[in-house]
Symmetry: C2
Subunit: 413 residues, 2 copies
Amino acid sequence: MKLSQYPLKTYKDTPAEAELTSHRLMLRSGLIKKLASGLFTWMPLGLKVLKKIENIVRKEMDATGALEILMPAIQPSNLWEETGRWDEYGNLLLKMSDRHNRLFCFGPTHEEVITDIVRGELNTYKQLPVNFYQIQTKFRDEIRPRFGVMRARDFLMKDSYSFHLDQSSLDEEYKKIGHAYDNIFMQLGLNYRKVRADSGEIGGSTSHEYHVLAESGEDKIGYCDEEDFAANVETIKGETAPGGGELSFARGIEVGHIFQLGDKYSKSMKCSVLDSTGKSANLMMGCYGIGISRIVAASIEQNHDKSGIIWPKEIAPFEIIIIAITKKDDEIVLLKSNQIYNDFIKLGYEIALDDRSERAGVKFAEAELIGIPFQIIVSERGLKNNTIELVERGKDGNQDISIDAIKSYFENK
Amino acid sequence: MKLSQYPLKTYKDTPAEAELTSHRLMLRSGLIKKLASGLFTWMPLGLKVLKKIENIVRKEMDATGALEILMPAIQPSNLWEETGRWDEYGNLLLKMSDRHNRLFCFGPTHEEVITDIVRGELNTYKQLPVNFYQIQTKFRDEIRPRFGVMRARDFLMKDSYSFHLDQSSLDEEYKKIGHAYDNIFMQLGLNYRKVRADSGEIGGSTSHEYHVLAESGEDKIGYCDEEDFAANVETIKGETAPGGGELSFARGIEVGHIFQLGDKYSKSMKCSVLDSTGKSANLMMGCYGIGISRIVAASIEQNHDKSGIIWPKEIAPFEIIIIAITKKDDEIVLLKSNQIYNDFIKLGYEIALDDRSERAGVKFAEAELIGIPFQIIVSERGLKNNTIELVERGKDGNQDISIDAIKSYFENK
């Protein structure tokens, strides 16, 4: 992308309401734009990050054998009445009536809908186990939306639901998805812990959360890496760590949550199949969520400095930005910058070119603010020696590299 | 995908309410499942088709230089009041109140939101022209939803909005997007016409629709291919074709619509920039839609026979299905089928393997119903001669091909 053709608008100041670093930096860098309380438009750079996370999640979920589907965002009230959640869920549920005065909600979660599908589609144990997932915008009518996309009203989730004949099959899938989640969060370049958790209003027994460690986190977790133990402190009641190791404490941002639901939903919604003896059996269920839009903010909370965002390269909107230090009537710098840009595009890199007629200081500041991992600085001075300057975001110093060696520099990265 | 691990459920009968062929075939083949009136879940096979169309649309929109964003589905009423559409739009607009009794709607279209973004982000003509697009689920509260995803209440759209300083820039973009649409519909393997149209309630002057030709189409179009003329008959008033050629008539399904909006929205919402003389100028707008979920149904209306769907290979859920004709204790057929399956997977093909213990007749019928373009039939009889049978969906006859030659057969396709 050439910035001359992209209406990038960054901000020095942010509204006082933005208390959190990620919220401030996302607004200042123009990744998102507020439409109304708790509702944000994902602008081009922000959407690129969101899509990269989405694609990593999709790839790993596909690898587990889970099947992607897409359920309607708008759900009829009758299903929620079957489980009693129409009333229980409270004001977080955004309700509405259609033109025929039938009641609907904008789904914050899809246990009822998927259970309704499965009870209609499956009838024998031979079709089990099965895991359906979707990647979809959900809605929670927060009383006081804040922290930007960290606690927005609409948010992008990966939610999946597995169905089993018995507990051992559920245990197996729970382990498999937990492993996929580890792959996902490692690929996203996040420092995280998988912690023992409460199941909360979703119901069920066993449950684990995935927390990105960051000082601004809303949850407190206790962990002992030597003993491979971590738990939400809410669940630690006078316990010492198994094995007796000493607990460390840190704050975490919840970005994933997996639950064993048991038969909570299959029982109330009569979701059963015939087992191998021909007897009707209620299905066992697991459910597994990842807050895709929240991960964008969590990653920023963990990776930033006073100049702006520092993206892990796996989810950066661009891996490299070429900064052309142009002066008036200075065709050669732009020419050379475009040449490098086209070469990298051909090699399949995602690269931006700052070819605007802005001051060098503005270009540096914006490249740092939006957090692109590598800057290639092309200047008249450098070109005299046939070099460019390379700056790695978040690291001190820079290095001169001969123009002919840039490509091999990145190939060997 | 191995069908033994996929809970495929097809139906011989469909509810009487399904009047349209595509609606019947999508339900029978399990591409979609009804949740409530006009609301459908996209099941795995259906979602694969939807995603393929989405990806072709995204690739061509990116190639035009349009920037992808994602606006909230839920929009505040105040923006719609600025343009007067909060009342004008009528009952198709699904309205709701949040917990603080503020009014919102589930957006059927996003002119107001994008105009609000642009008036906040852009301030000089130097940032123009710009075209933002999104791919998103929208909602229209149809009085009588019917025809399946053809006229559902929620539907997946690509909508884009361009902004210009003057008419000539708008004309240029309008032409560019029109050209991208031609690329898209050709790649989708559709027989379509671009027709002159009315602008309807969106407003503006110049406008064209893209129609997939099909007998079941709701619109009537007149066209003369020799003169490169086509128009919605609503707009033909006693006209003969330009050049005097004779008009043919056909029924069409609208799958795309492009509009020149002029300053309708920028005027009422005060969306302006400073021009080169420093004077404030209202922006000129274009808007461009493609009904992604509707294309799935339109493609089926155009490509089917009495046995089921015939997918163009560009959007088929799988390009090839291997049908293993297994008998009891017949390991060799399954073994060979799995071998061919793994070979094709490695080569990057999207391929399904019917390795279920179903009768051959059931497997053939389902492969035809779900419309996979190529069937590779592996049987004991064939293996004796070291051949498989190849059947091309929608074409008569089949051919025996030696196992060693299958790969090169598809490479040269």
